[in-house]
Amino acid sequence: MKPDLILRLVAKFVIPLIILFALYVQFHGDFGPGGGFQAGVIFSAAFILYALVFGLDAAEKIIPSRWLSMLAALGVIIYAGVGVVSLPLGGNYLDYSLLGGNQIAGQHLGILLVELGVGITVAAAMLILFFSFAGRGRD
């Protein structure tokens, strides 16, 4: 089954835009609507579109499944690790106020890191789900 030429061209044009939008949603989530959950889902949607148009094998060459399970764990570790870092600084678990020079800077840094962890885990988990379902029907 050879996919349509128009489909391939439009996908090649749209996928970078989707990834760019996901990064915007991820790092602009403090100021506008957005955050880690949305960014992760949008990011994984770009790769799912790639897999649907160019085939599962091509998509797995870009992100091998082994990496995905590591990334999913990495996100949770980043989140929990940010909480642990504030313990030796004298704060409570997940209290970001001591991470920066003052309370505002610390909170801002903490929120950014935590949202990054959420984004990585959500994106990796969604891709794991899609690859498991799609890979099941391959043979």
Binding site: V114, A125, F130
Partner: protein, 192 residues
């Protein structure tokens, strides 16, 4: 006024879509209608001033979960035509209908005491919500209150949610990750 008109229109569309989902038997059409259902509810979230939620629902409900359901349909389809139809119902629909009617009327009775839609003096609006709205910006420096509450005030909660997502991904990998190994197992049985 325009808010109410959009609200009523979207709610009417939602009810129509849900009734169509119940009445149809072609699973492919049902999955597509569910995508429409999610998109309509995302529109409703925008009308109710929740852009963050609408964002997520549009990406997740209309995007990812539709793709996952279509992938499942491809895996569970019948070998002959019709590929995607559900089997005709064997039992009578009256008992579930009675159960649903009783539950629904109990819930509607429960709304009698709920403050009216959009009431600024409702109990939900004057306790912790007011604290967040007044203090989120000075305490965290993040203008988006939803992000501030999600990551900072309720950080433990979100850590739990992220762990749930991680666990679900692990469970799906354990259930259907990797190649099917039925043939190999049957072959081994034959040898022994």
């Amino acid at each position: 006024m325009i808010d109410i008109v959009i609200d009523v229109t979207l709610l009417a569309f939602l009810v129509t879509t849900s009734v169509a989902i119940v009445r149809m038997t072609n699973l492919f059409a049902i999955v597509m209608l569910y995508g429409i259902f999610s998109l309509l509810s995302a529109g409703l979230f925008v009308v109710m001033d929740a852009p963050d939620v609408a964002f997520t629902e549009a990406a997740v409900g209309a995007g990812i979960s539709t793709v996952l359901m279509l992938a499942t349909l491809a895996l569970v389809k019948r070998p002959q035509k019709p590929y995607f139809d559900e089997a005709p119902r064997a039992h009578l629909p009256w008992l579930p209908l009675v159960v649903v009617a009783i539950t629904g009327s109990a819930l509607v009775y429960g709304t009698w005491d709920i403050p009216a839609f959009g009431d600024p003096d409702a109990p939900a609006q004057i306790h912790v919500a007011r604290y967040y709205i007044e203090n989120a910006m000075p305490e965290t420096g993040v203008p988006n209150i939803v992000t501030a509450v999600l990551a900072s005030y309720r950080g433990f909660d979100t850590l739990g949610e992220v762990t749930v997502i991680f666990t679900a991904a692990v469970a799906v990998l354990l259930l259907i990750g990797g190649r099917r190994s039925n043939q190999r197992i049957e072959g081994q049985r034959d040898e022994t």
